[in-house]
Symmetry: none
Amino acid sequence: MAVSIPATVETTVHATMDALTSAEKRAARTLLANYPTIGLAPVAEFGTAAGASAATVLRFISRLGFRSYPDFQRALRTELDERTKSPLQRSFEVPRQESERFLDRFFEQTAEIMRATAERIPASEFEAASRKLADSRHACHLAGGRFTDALAMYMEAHLRRARPGVRRLDGRIANRADQLLDIKAGDVVVLFDMRRYDDDLLETARQLKAARAFTILVTDEWISPISRFSKIVLPCRVSIDRIWDANTAMFALVEALIARTTELSWKTAESRIRAGD
Amino acid sequence: MAVSIPATVETTVHATMDALTSAEKRAARTLLANYPTIGLAPVAEFGTAAGASAATVLRFISRLGFRSYPDFQRALRTELDERTKSPLQRSFEVPRQESERFLDRFFEQTAEIMRATAERIPASEFEAASRKLADSRHACHLAGGRFTDALAMYMEAHLRRARPGVRRLDGRIANRADQLLDIKAGDVVVLFDMRRYDDDLLETARQLKAARAFTILVTDEWISPISRFSKIVLPCRVSIDRIWDANTAMFALVEALIARTTELSWKTAESRIRAGD
DNA sequence: GCCATTCTGAAATTCTCGTTTCAGTGTTGA
DNA sequence: TCAACACTGAAACGAGAATTTCAGAATGGC
């Protein structure tokens, strides 16, 4: 038996979205983004906030099925009342409906992957990696493969805010040799490698080990051969019962590393962040 | 040191209570009992609920220090807005809990953010975006800002596997003008923009609209001004009660888009992927 | 690129709502 | 008991709100 979903204004908006014109959609989005307050304001104000005219907002409201704007506002108030009167009820509000939506299923699976990932990464490893990253006495280098280069890039951009001496290694192998010369013993290097593992990156890792760099490897559950040359290995689940591999857990791990590192080096980070913004 | 209490309407009512006449007190009690919804209703309704006349309610409101009833309502709305959005405005504090659980907590919060994101993205919008991306008759362009460029890059790498004609716009503005010339009416453009919103990207979006491109915007919960020039807007939660914004939900959305797009264009995608691996 | 169609916002219109007034009611103190 | 005073709500008023209309702009199909 399907549990009936309460027909809130919000769900109605979602359901109606399809049938809306573009200016009306702007109104819809504004409402969802400032739910429910903007709907409690006069139409004119709602219109301005949405970058549309009052008339458009009214058309939007009527398309949602309300007979008038005051009618719509009454619905919002009633809803608000019920929500605040039974806060406990809120967690049951959106019950285990069969999520037919692709997006919901996908996100659920992803959350599961993340849970599995968190389980498998030893806290001590994570902590050691963060501390090493937060230690700005040594330079920090990042590199990834074909698909993971974007992760390296993202991490670089954020790590730069927290500490000095962050650099991403160029993807092309030709340039690698030169770049490796800059790396000193004790420097931190974060490598991203997942199936199918990158041979060039493996070679790079070997040389880094020879140069006595401190290598942190972020890899998938099958673990890249680079682990041989790494001080710290952080394995992420990338699939559970899904056809495509999902790197979201890896991305989340990157964010966690950034967050923890920033926290640990807050003294340095604070001024850098303020200067950067 | 006294903790300063924020001057909410509610506290003002309490403070004013004993200066009120008996009918006014009825109004005050009604407001406190149905806070804040009854105050968002028309005066007449408020009056009826309180068993008093509209005039009495008005006198009550003015005694609270508001210049008019709409003024009072505006205060309530602002307050309501802040109540739902403010947890993230808390200033930075180093978490007392030591590192062990950092990763777990972080991932939990992230999962929560993802849930909230999935909830807010209308299925129709997601589906429409995927379909448009799967339609390889038109070219597809991607661009991001300072931190989101990495997302564009990641999406580019994967979308390339699924379909031809994918290109990422160069980050530097100088090159933008030339690149825009290549974009034809009907082309899909995926833009990533989050706080603090990128002015150059906004300008690019404006020109894209003029060129009649089909713009898909991936943004945060406060919605980039680019939404004005976009056909589809996909808002992601980036924070719930955490100091730093987290882009994991956005990354997951990108992966979901890639997955769905690949699914929809499987005929084309299959051979491309085989050739690429 | 052109035409039919749809969409949009400014302005005119209508009506509801907030506000004010004032007569009536209740209350207090002599 | 009566007068002075404060409180209250019904009704009149005017402001500002929602709604409708319509001409011009944008869009989509050929």
